[in-house]
């Protein structure tokens, strides 16, 4: 589903990603772990072209991100093609980024009606279903400001799912939450993984990674230090850097 080959990303002179090689199969859940500044969030943002990569190849579902290849040359994609591809990838942010001037239901129906061209009635019905699935059936007409962080993040998950994405990206979805609210959000994500969604999750929740991930990737300083099944990377890390990190996080 997602394939990265030698992905480099620079911000000015600062090299944030130094050649990332990763592959995520359809239906798999990949958890990205690592200290802050290791480049894991940047990598996630490259996948839906919120950031442009400087070299290497990055593709989603067999299609390059942000470019089209013909005659051995790369052509930049038009803005609307980038938007069309983003619509197929759901993203959940650390700071929720719900639209504060809209109710929970309006947050979820906005993109389906405005981008996907779904009828208002159909969008409302689907949105109500999604919000019910994340346990917010009674909050449809509530504005974000009146919701707890955990509830806001679950609305954000429903908002992303409303576009029926083939891939979901989670950028530290529980890092801004009070500890007691983390569980509900992780439950929603766990449910999603069970339903077969392809997911890439940047997280510090080692327990979640161990339980849900098919692959765990440990990144540091812009490179992949170690990757593999959770039992290997978390249970029996081969690299000193991974061991040190896990010792501190646990």
């Amino acid at each position: 589903m997602v394939k990265a080959e030698g992905v480099h990303k620079r911000f000015g002179r600062l090299e944030v990603l130094k050649g990332i090689n990763l592959e995520v199969a359809r239906g798999d859940v990949m958890c990205l772990l690592g200290p802050s500044g290791s480049g894991k969030s940047t990598f996630l943002r490259c996948i839906n072209h919120l950031e442009k990569i400087n070299s290497g190849r990055l593709s989603v579902d067999g299609e390059l991100v942000g470019y089209r290849e013909s005659d051995g040359k790369l052509h930049e994609l038009h803005e609307r093609d980038v938007a069309r591809k983003r619509a197929e990838i759901g993203m959940v942010f650390q700071s929720f980024n719900l639209f504060p001037h809209m109710t929970a239901l309006e947050n979820v129906t906005l993109a389906p009606t405005r981008v996907a061209g779904v009828s208002r009635a159909a969008a409302r019905e689907r949105a109500a279903g999604l919000l019910t699935r994340v346990g917010l059936a009674d909050k449809l007409s509530t504005y974000p400001v009146a919701l707890s962080g955990g509830q806001q993040q679950r609305v954000a998950i429903a908002r992303a799912l409303a576009m029926q994405p083939k891939l979901m990206l989670f950028d530290e979805p529980t890092s801004a939450l009070d500890p007691e609210l983390v569980g509900d959000v992780l439950d929603a994500m766990r449910q999603l993984a069970r339903d077969g969604m392809t997911m890439i999750v940047v997280t510090h929740e080692i327990g979640f990674a161990r339980e849900v991930a098919d692959t765990v990737v440990f990144m540091d300083a812009g490179v992949v230090v170690e990757s593999g099944p959770p039992a290997d990377v978390l249970g029996n890390p081969q690299h000193e850097r991974t061991r040190a990190f896990l010792a501190n996080v646990r």
Partner: protein, 308 residues
């Protein structure tokens, strides 16, 4: 607070301190001076026959004055509409990734904020001497519409052009501040849902920016109302020029300026009241205490928005 509540009558309150207060003779002298000056001013306004209050009363509802008031209101509204529309367009242009488009916006603001409004008014009124005719068509190509400048640039046309184009430059800065007040994460979330740049602007950024844009727009409207008096220099009969026409014949300059001032005060008062209600409406749920938590929730840990 709590300690003084403890020591009330039931628990036996200690005597209040009775100290000799510090004398402030300076304050008394200052107060007496201010009152004396104010009283003499009021006395001269009321008693001095040169104010000619009967003349003020005579002209206050004169049809020519009322017509001037009406024209001033129309000019304010039309120019403000031009200014707001232009301001939004310029602010959007300023965000454009195209350097020519954003540069054009910057240059426009630079020129129109950097030259006096009075000069701009006279300039637009005299545009006929620069361009005899105005052609609409393809640049360097054929033209479809052919207009004589003098028929297009009436006093009203020149006034609206000058006031509206000038206001556009100021409004664009107000709108830009509104745009900047919306967190980048909002745009990222919207574009990650597949929305286009214009959709993000129209559906996400602009509605949230309104809260920041509305109050200064009220101020701009009040300034505009008073700035309309500048077009009296091109003999457009708004309120000031209407009273000028009267006193140029009757030489009752002061009483007629008082007539104009009273009407300006009435109109700005109405705008102040309107602004009060609009601000209260858009500030709902944004009292200081609430705002701190809302900002934390919406914007993560962002600090000051850098917007006044």
């Amino acid at each position: 607070m709590s300690s003084s509540e403890l020591s009330d009558e039931r628990t036996g309150r200690p005597d209040d301190i009775e100290a000799v207060p510090v004398r402030h003779p300076g304050r008394w002298i200052a107060a007496i001076l201010v009152v004396l000056i104010a009283a003499s001013l009021v006395r001269s306004i009321v008693v001095d026959p040169n104010f000619q209050w009967s003349v003020v009363g005579h002209y206050l509802f004169d049809p020519r004055v009322l017509r001037g008031v009406r024209v001033t209101i129309v000019l304010t509204v039309v120019s403000m509409v031009v200014g707001v529309v232009l301001g939004v367009v310029l602010a959007i242009m300023r965000r454009s990734p195209n350097p020519i488009v954003s540069g054009a916006s910057w240059l426009y603001i630079y020129v129109f904020r950097g030259t006096p409004l009075l000069v701009q008014i006279i300039f637009w009124y005299s545009i006929g001497s620069l361009y005899k005719t105005i052609d609409l068509g393809i640049p360097f190509g054929p033209s479809f519409v052919h207009i004589n400048s003098n028929s297009l640039i009436t006093a009203f046309g020149a006034s609206v052009l000058a006031l509206g184009l000038n206001e556009g430059a100021y409004m664009s800065e107000v709108v830009r501040a509104g745009f900047l007040s919306v967190d980048d994460g909002q745009g990222e979330a919207a574009s990650s849902l597949g929305m286009s740049r214009m959709q993000v602007l129209r559906l996400i950024v602009l509605p949230q920016a309104m809260r920041v844009i509305i109050p200064p727009t009220g101020n701009e409207t009040i300034s505009m109302l008073k700035n309309t008096s500048l077009v009296s220099v091109i003999a457009y009969t708004e309120l000031l020029y209407s009273v000028q026409q009267i006193y140029s014949v009757s030489f009752q300059t002061i009483p007629l300026l008082i007539v104009a001032s009273l009407w300006y005060l009435v109109m700005t008062s109405v705008l102040y009241v309107g602004q009060f209600f609009i601000e209260r409406r858009y500030g709902r749920g944004f009292s200081r205490a609430e705002r701190a938590t809302m900002r934390a929730r919406w914007l993560g840990t962002r600090g000051n928005r850098g917007v006044t």
